[in-house]
């Protein structure tokens, strides 16, 4: 039943062009920008009123103020109680809500076209005439504080919180979420004043996409917003970003965890940086998707995790690179080894032509899919506006992706991924994680799930066991490809840290940052294999003068077992 036509992937039917719809743009005298796209395909509309102020505008002693303000907009206005507001929106079958982000605050609405005028009036009511009732604020504070307890039970929240704190230092982006004590400080007056300062027309853009009549909506916008007074734009306190000079390890001890949530992070670039497209394509090759290197290695080949990815988070003033996976605790060590191997590979070696073509095809191909829904299209327009992207950004997006070269990618990787200075953050059972991960970093700190620092000594595993002595020369036999290869370890020990070297027939290696915990020894040997720099992970158990364990390397599918004795 051989059907030869099945043997190769079929060819394209011929590319169908996709043109980004042309928006109508206008501006009120008070500075409010207006962007319209009429799209009659479906009898619905989407509205976004986007303000270029966000959580970074929170005063230093009022963290959480912007998000409280945004949440409170629908909890009572001059003409509607909180309940009446919810009922009115939902009676239209519509959605209307405000959301706070680091750089921006966006009021979003969507409704059937026949209710365009009604939903717009409700949006105006929320934006211009909120009253922030005290009883509703009390409830918001209570619920947010309780909600935080739930957040703190989730490993990804804890990992993101530590990552932001470490890589952004004193910059306002370092605040992942306000704490309970921040929330309780917020008063009604704080919110009202902050609303007055940030909800100003000259800092806002209204975007409308869908089935509506531009002329009549323009009239309604003018009638509702022309008395809205422009004001001075509130500047955010942009403190300098910290510089890093070494790899650090931060563990959040979450007892009972069955996985280790790993994030490796460093600062990268802001959203409108000229290198953005090089980084975007580089990241597509490295870890953005299910056919990227990290996923193919850690999930498909090794089965360590359900998914391993890398991300570029680019905000208005700065951004980060993060590689992440949730792995089963027992393979934390092996997973870190694979991560570093992939991060180094994309810096040290040029990607292939095929990888480049695939990444570009993906990024250019999925672009129109995002424009299928009104929500997707408004999102693209709002991002262009809020991140100061060029006028022709959407039209030229696919060309900018196509221009990226293999050189650009390697340069971007070397500039924006810094394996030797990464912050390693791991949420998991600290007792299990610490012995596997500490050798990868030059510093270690441990927190509990409340964010309080813990004493590292409390987490030394098997602290009833005396720390074994591994100093000396070990002659080991390693099971490799059906043979026993002789390998010698020459180790020196200082407390629980170990350094030394590895000698074998196929090369030598340096051991730094080794660690002994009880009678468990673990280390990474930096070595050369067939001319390439690589890392060999060593895990051993010491019984007097004998040691058994495994050695592993990213190029070898299974760890190699070894055993031997001290000379």
């Amino acid at each position: 039943m051989s059907e030869t036509f099945r043997q190769t992937a079929p060819k394209s039917l011929g590319v169908v062009p996709f043109n980004v719809p042309n928006p109508f743009k206008s501006k009120l005298e008070n500075g409010l920008k207006i962007i319209f796209i009429e799209d009659k395909r479906h009898p619905i509309i989407s509205i976004r009123l986007a303000f270029r102020s966000g959580d970074i505008n929170d005063p230093a002693d009022r963290v959480g103020l912007n998000s409280a303000m945004a949440e409170m907009l629908s909890e009572g206005t001059e003409n509607y109680s909180s309940k009446a507001c919810a009922e009115e929106i939902e009676r239209l079958g519509a959605h209307l809500s405000a959301s706070a982000g680091s750089d921006n605050t966006i009021v979003k609405a969507s409704a059937l076209s026949m209710y365009t005028s009604e939903i717009f009036d409700l949006l105006v009511e929320m934006v211009l005439r909120p009253t922030f009732p005290a009883s509703e604020l009390d409830l918001y504070k209570q619920n947010t504080i309780e909600g935080l307890k739930f957040q703190r039970s989730q490993p990804d929240f804890l990992a993101d919180e530590q990552t932001a704190r470490i890589i952004y230092g004193g910059h306002p982006y370092s605040v992942h979420s306000p704490g309970a004590e921040d929330i309780s400080k917020i008063t009604r007056d704080d919110i009202a004043e902050f609303h007055k300062k940030t909800f100003i027309p000259n800092n806002a853009t209204i975007v409308v996409v869908g089935d509506f009549e531009s002329e009549s909506l323009l009239k309604q916008i003018d009638a509702s917003f022309s008395d809205w007074k422009a004001d001075e734009i509130l500047q955010a306190p942009i403190n300098p970003l910290p510089s890093r000079n070494r790899r650090s390890l931060t563990i959040v001890d979450r007892p009972g965890s069955t996985q280790a949530n790993i994030i490796l992070a460093n600062l990268a670039l802001k959203r409108n940086h000229p290198d953005y497209f090089s980084v975007l394509v580089m990241n597509q090759i490295l870890g953005a998707g299910a056919s990227s290197r990290l996923f193919m290695n850690l999930r498909e080949e090794k089965g360590y995790t359900y998914g391993a990815y890398s991300r570029i988070y680019s905000k208005r003033h700065a951004g980060s690179f993060e590689a992440t996976a949730e792995v089963r605790t027992a393979v934390t060590d092996e997973s870190l080894q694979e991560f570093f191997s992939e991060l180094n590979r994309i810096r040290d070696e040029k990607a292939s032509d095929e990888e480049l073509t695939d990444a570009k095809n993906y990024l250019t191909g999925v672009f129109p899919i995002r424009a299928e829904t009104q929500g997707g299209l408004t999102g693209l327009i709002v991002a262009q506006e809020l991140y100061d992207l060029p006028e022709n950004y959407l039209e030229t997006y696919r060309d900018r992706v196509r221009e990226v070269t293999l050189d650009d990618i390697q340069k971007a990787a070397n500039k924006y991924i810094e394996p030797e200075k990464l912050a390693i953050v791991i949420v998991g059972d600290a007792g299990e994680v610490i012995s596997q991960a500490s050798k990868y970093a030059e510093s270690l700190e441990i927190f509990d799930t409340e964010g309080h620092p813990k004493k590292i000594d409390d987490y030394k595993p098997d602290d009833k066991l005396e720390t074994a002595q591994v100093a000396g020369e070990w002659e080991l036999g390693v099971e490799a490809m059906g043979q026993k290869l002789p390998v010698t370890l020459i180790l020196t020990q200082n407390g629980d840290s170990v350094s030394g070297k590895l000698e074998s027939m196929i090369g030598e290696g340096e051991i730094a940052n080794g660690i002994v915990a009880g009678n468990n020894f673990s280390a990474v040997a930096k070595t050369k294999f067939q001319g390439q720099d690589t890392e060999l992970g060593i895990k051993g158990k010491i019984e007097g003068d004998s040691m058994t364990g495994t050695m592993s390397n990213s190029m070898i599918p299974m760890p190699m077992e070894f055993s031997g004795n001290r000379k």
Binding site: E3, R6, Q7, P10, K11, S12, L13, V16, P17, F18, H42, P43, I44, S74, K83, A86, E87, I89, E90, R91, L92, G93, A94, A111, L112, M114, Y115, L139, Q142, N143, E146, G147, F150, S153, Q154, G256, S257, T258, Q259, G289, A290, S291, M296, E300, G303, T305, Y306, E326, R328, T357, D358, Y362, L363, T364, G365, P368, I369, E372, T373, Q374
Partner: protein, 425 residues
């Protein structure tokens, strides 16, 4: 506010290949993309005791390569063509879908047909995907607070094994699975006569038909899988259980009721009753428990929609030191009010507008159209329900909602699960 809106029908063309594959085409060229949905009539409901988790494990195997597509080649082919794809498993079905630039329709059909006819079920793939599934279980269920409570409640609501066990299944059963078991599962359930194929988006009907014929018509059909029995007694399987959740920060509870199958008047009316109770900030329970008595931080509810007996679940995470019993009395009292007085006029207007709005929103994307059509084609043998089912919902009266709330929810025949955080040290 009584304005009505007549939605334009989606254009549909429906036919069946000789091997039994049911095909539905929904051409719409407004954006140059096309979505392909392949739905197989196999879900956790088809699993036997001692063999749970197979349907979901199999979903993973479908990305492991076939005669002409290497392992993980499916991801790569789709992504390098500029598309997106995934697969999911529920109690009712296993689905696979991709959205591609319109010119890549042949690629999508080639990929779907190659794995339907010649999946590579090898020991290595099986071992590797078992590990991925175990990680998925740790990530989504074991390592999340409240991660396992819905699966526990299902075992309390449903008595029939087919309905009661979880989709993720037992890891011990997966460990027992042999390559032969998995090959047999593929032969029985992944046959063209046990699937539907739906295309939605920018394509020429004639081109699509000839491509579908080329790629799918020579895949042999298989004997029909054994019929399954999903019937349930009226009573829930277990009325009360408490469960210690080691990761839960606060106590919580979950209640479940057994209701009739989807596509019945009673199910539809109960779906609307549920929306009035728990859906949105103006819903009755949100206003009572989150706003009024200010006692819960999280409230959630949903219908567990199935082809057989289905469920309604309502749960809450109360603030500390609240009397959970009192909260449940509030929920029961609100159900009783709905069962006695029925919905208000405003509530009926709200439901009507929400139904229409939801319907239009879901028609925007080619993928969501393809998925909706595929469900009606697979479950009901009638894809045109995508155009007409909404009318059935819009015709439901307040009195019908009151009556089903009384019959199915206003009763002690319900399951209650108390979730208890670990004892404070």
């Amino acid at each position: 506010m009584t304005e009505t809106l007549n939605l334009k029908d989606l254009e549909l063309e429906e036919y069946t290949l000789e091997n039994g594959l049911r095909v539905v085409l929904n051409p719409d060229d407004s954006i140059p993309v096309v979505s392909i949905a392949v739905y197989y009539d196999v879900g956790s409901r088809n699993e036997r005791e001692g063999r749970t988790g197979f349907a979901h494990l199999f979903e993973h195997m479908m990305f492991q390569g076939s005669e002409n597509v290497p392992k993980a080649g499916h991801f790569q082919h789709v992504m390098k063509a500029g598309g997106t794809m995934n697969g999911t498993t529920s109690s009712e079905r296993t689905n696979y879908y991709e959205t591609l630039p319109a010119d890549q329709l042949p690629l999508g059909l080639w990929l779907e047909s190659d794995r339907m006819r010649s999946l590579a079920v090898t020991q290595e793939n099986l071992d590797n995907q078992r590990e991925a599934v175990k990680e998925e279980k740790r990530l989504r269920y074991d390592n999340q607070p409240y991660g396992q409570i819905f699966d526990i409640l299902s075992t309390m609501v449903y008595k029939n094994f087919s309905n009661a066990h979880s989709t993720i299944g037992s890891m011990a059963h997966l460990d027992d699975a042999t390559v032969e078991d998995v090959q047999e599962f593929f032969r029985v359930y992944y046959a063209p006569n046990n699937a539907v194929l739906v295309l939605s988006g920018a394509f020429e009907i004639a081109t699509a038909k000839s491509l579908i014929d080329k790629y799918f018509s020579t895949i042999p059909s298989q004997p029909k899988p054994l019929a399954i029995d999903v019937s349930e007694p009226e009573e829930v399987a277990e009325r009360y259980r408490n469960y210690e959740d080691k990761l839960a920060p606060l106590p919580a509870f979950l209640m479940g009721w057994k209701i009739p199958s989807r596509r019945t008047g009673e199910f539809n009316a109960l779906y609307l009753a549920g929306k009035l109770l728990y859906s949105g900030d103006s819903s009755r329970l949100y206003q009572k428990l989150v706003k009024g008595e200010e006692s819960v931080t999280q409230l959630f509810g949903f219908t567990d929609e199935r082809r057989g007996p289905s469920g309604i679940m309502i749960g809450a995470i109360p603030k500390p030191e609240r009397n959970l019993e009192k909260l449940r009395e509030t929920i029961v009292a609100e159900i009783k009010d709905l069962a006695t007085n029925g919905p208000s006029e405003e509530e009926m207007t709200k439901l009507r507008n929400q139904l229409i709005n939801g319907e239009v929103q879901s028609r925007q994307s080619s993928l969501s159209r393809a998925q909706g059509i595929a469900e009606y084609a697979l479950y009901d043998g009638n894809p045109s329900l995508i155009n007409s089912e909404i009318d059935e919902f819009l015709e439901i009266t307040g009195e019908q909602i009151r009556a089903v709330a009384d019959k199915y929810l206003n009763t002690d025949n319900r399951a209650l699960l108390d979730i208890i955080p670990p004892a404070q040290k």
